[in-house]
């Protein structure tokens, strides 16, 4: 079985439901309060015979943390851009985030534009506009309600699929990691050795799993 690991960053204005979203996904939705700085979560999902491990940075939307954001999106492989369907401002803010990512992140990223709180009636963002914008930046578009648990799974699946597609399209992406836990040998019969020049932050992840930079299978 193969495992893919990627880093995901949740971005978006204060109160749009970023923490609720990840909380709902890992089964911890109750008592959210504003995020301080950023929180780190690990989550796993299966896609066919692939295991996907996501290391998620849930950032704080408060303006005062804005300047810290690069710390969290640097080296990210995917971004969930969350806005509140009932707050046009929060949608406009997404565009700011996308510009910032385009300027500061060199590697390609999987992007998902996510309109949350579809359960509320005071909608301010038109679905078509959202969809159109998402398409224009190569992102998937989702309208969800974390409250009613509608669409949450789909978002994470979309990210996982995106990561999978990204590694199979683009062989020089080394920041997404792929492990093969069923065999110590790749197709060529070469032993897979733990990569020597791992950055320190990667060492914590693999427990007894051999790790190598991406090679095509």
């Amino acid at each position: 079985m193969k495992t893919i690991e990627g880093k995901v960053v949740l971005l978006g204005s204060q109160g749009v439901g970023k923490t609720s979203l990840i909380g709902r996904y890992i089964g911890n939705f109750d008592n959210v309060s504003p995020t301080i700085g950023a929180s780190f979560f690990n989550c796993k999902l299966n896609l066919g015979d692939m295991k996907i491990k996501l290391h998620v940075w849930d950032t704080a939307g408060q303006e005062r943390f804005r300047s810290m954001a690069p710390m969290y999106y640097r080296n990210a492989n995917a971004a969930m851009l969350v806005f509140d369907l009932t707050q046009y401002n929060s949608f406009a803010a997404i565009k700011g985030w996308v510009k910032e990512l385009q300027q500061n992140v060199e590697d390609t990223m999987v992007l998902a534009v996510i309109g949350n709180k579809s359960d509320l009636h005071q909608r301010q963002v038109d679905g078509e506009e959202g969809q159109k914008y998402a398409t224009s930046i190569g992102a998937t578009y989702h309208e969800i309600s974390v409250l009613h648990n509608e669409g949450v799974e789909t978002v994470f699946l979309a990210i996982a699929k995106g990561l999978l597609r990204m590694v199979s399209d683009n062989t020089d992406i080394t920041s997404v990691k792929i492990f093969d836990s069923s065999s110590f040998f790749n197709g060529d019969g070469m032993p897979l050795l733990p990569s020597v020049e791992e950055s320190p932050q990667n060492t914590s992840i693999a427990h007894g799993i051999l790790e190598k930079p991406f090679t095509c299978c």
Binding site: I36, G37, A38, F40, Q62, R64, S204
Partner: protein
């Protein structure tokens, strides 16, 4: 209480130095200060406040960072005193007019409940822009804040500084710090120095969120800046801090309470942290809090933590539910440690089954995963050595009362050990079981505290019979003590009980206090 002044007996010679100083230690991890140091600093900095601020821009953080690439802008003084606007008669009329008007069109000002609040806190910019109000939305108070700003700058124009205004039972206390004006309007018995201290705490809370240099920078760029944009989400912290100060003696005592633990357990926890973190560079403080009490604090050699900074950390932890659900990585500025830079904090609760909060504070922004690993290892070790259990046990145990200690006449006590800046208090017992009664009791302690430390006439000992209780307050060379007795206790009985209490604290000191000062 003022009415009972006749019943006050102050005796400087009725009690002898006890010869013991429970909890005293020559080693301390906390900066020891008198809580009124702040006030005195405020007083002396008066008009020259800006200069003092500039002097303190030396950055401890960049000192620690081996290659400090971060540039910390030196703050420019927000305004020279020569340039402060002066009010002539016409302008004074205008102020009076606005004051009068505010009674008519300011919404909260017509609201009885709002007016009846015991302690209002307002924050505004030097330009008079509303930033925060404790009990109502600040933008409804534009007029009132305008008046406050006018008052401050009117007095400033005469090269003086407004400190406080007293009107009937209401105190208006002003603190002007950097680009901000902080105002308390209080009907409580708290003294001007105590209210000044609280305003200073509020200011420090803002600094903790923004840093001094950022605060100065935004106002240097635009005098009219609307700080609320940068503070959205942080009002919560200020609200919580104000409520916290109303019910926690730690603030006016300038001291920290420790979680009672067997010394062997505490030392094992401390050693675990030291051993696990030994190789991590740039880690400045490791702090473990449980129920808002200190379990242990490990510091980088040479650096100490100021109780005020620890209080700000406690406020952050206590007011942020979100820290419970995940590992957080957050910038935090400790105003006393270095008001111009952020530290980075790895903040997490030990485990689902042990709700103690571990903070690992570093000056290195890239070590989240290193600290995350360290935390994991710490927890595993603590679990193996039954330390988690010990912490839980202490957290869940009802606090010991003076009745449990065998002091039936004594209802409650605050004991502060001066040399370590730590304090201890027993659990509340009847009649102090409602929020109201507890607040009233803390109010009495604050009064005593103020009188002991009165800048004009400090006292050593106060024995005071009140309607509902008898109070004793005592400053000895090593400690401060505030005791509440049954109303009819006699002085000899009270003094006898105090000496028994001191012996008990002495016997328990290793459990109640941290007597060493561990470093990495």
């Amino acid at each position: 209480m003022a009415a009972k002044e006749s019943a006050v007996e102050t005796i400087d010679d009725g009690i002898a130095e006890p010869g013991i100083e429970p909890g005293a230690s020559s080693e301390t991890m906390l900066v020891t200060t008198d809580s009124f140091d702040e006030y005195e600093q405020e007083m002396s900095s008066s008009i020259d406040g800006d200069r003092q601020m500039k002097e303190s821009t030396g950055s401890t953080i960049s000192e620690i960072q081996e290659d400090s690439t971060q540039d910390i802008p030196i703050s420019a003084s927000p305004q020279e005193s020569g340039k402060t606007l002066s009010l002539d008669d016409a302008e004074m009329d205008d102020v009076a007019h606005r004051l009068g008007q505010s009674n008519i069109d300011g919404d909260p000002l017509r609201c009885k409940a709002w007016l009846a609040q015991k302690k209002h806190i307002f924050i505004l910019s030097q330009a008079g822009k509303p930033i925060y109000s404790r009990y109502s939305s600040e933008d409804k108070l534009v007029t009132v804040m305008g008046v406050m700003q006018a008052l401050v700058s009117f007095v400033q124009a005469g090269s003086d500084m407004i400190r406080s205004v007293h009107a009937g039972d209401t105190n208006f206390v002003f603190v002007v710090k950097g680009p901000l004006i902080l105002v308390a309007v209080s009907k409580t018995l708290e003294s001007v120095p105590q209210l000044t201290l609280q305003l200073t705490y509020v200011y420090n809370q803002i600094i903790s969120v923004l840093t001094q240099s950022q605060l100065n920078r935004v106002y240097d760029q635009r005098r009219n800046f609307d700080l609320r944009r940068l503070l959205t989400g942080s009002e919560r912290l200020i609200d919580h801090l104000l409520n916290f100060m109303d019910r926690e003696p730690a603030f006016f005592l300038g001291a920290i309470k420790c979680l009672p633990l067997l010394p062997s357990m505490r030392s094992s926890i401390t050693q675990t942290i030291i051993q696990t973190c030994a190789k991590i560079k740039n880690l400045v403080f490791a702090i473990l809090l449980a129920n808002n009490q200190l379990v242990t604090l490990v510091r980088m050699n040479k650096f100490f933590l100021h109780p005020m900074d620890l209080h700000i950390i406690q406020n952050l932890v206590d007011s942020s539910e979100s820290l419970k659900t995940a590992e957080s990585w957050t910038p935090i500025c400790l105003p006393k440690f270095d008001s111009n830079g952020y530290m980075h904090g790895h903040v997490s609760y030990l485990s689902e089954d042990c709700q103690a909060c571990l903070l690992l504070l570093t000056v290195d922004r890239d070590v989240f995963f290193v600290l995350s690993d360290a935390k994991q290892k710490i927890v595993e070790k603590l679990r193996r050595t039954n330390c988690l259990e010990a912490i839980n046990e202490s957290m869940n145990k009802p606090t010991i009362t003076t009745a449990d200690i065998g002091l039936p006449d004594m209802r409650h006590v605050l004991y502060k050990c001066k040399s370590t800046a730590q304090f201890w208090n027993p659990g509340f017992q009847p009649p102090y079981t409602t929020d109201e009664e507890i607040e009233r009791l803390l109010g009495l302690y604050q009064c005593l505290h103020h009188r002991l430390h009165s800048p004009s006439r400090p006292l050593k000992l106060i024995f005071q019979q009140l309607d509902k209780e008898t109070m004793l307050a005592w400053v000895a060379s090593g400690f401060e003590l505030y005791v509440t007795f049954e109303p009819l206790v006699t002085k000899p009985d009270a003094i006898e009980a105090v000496s028994k209490l001191l012996k008990w604290i002495k016997k328990e000191e290793e459990r109640l206090f941290i007597l060493n000062s561990p470093t990495f």
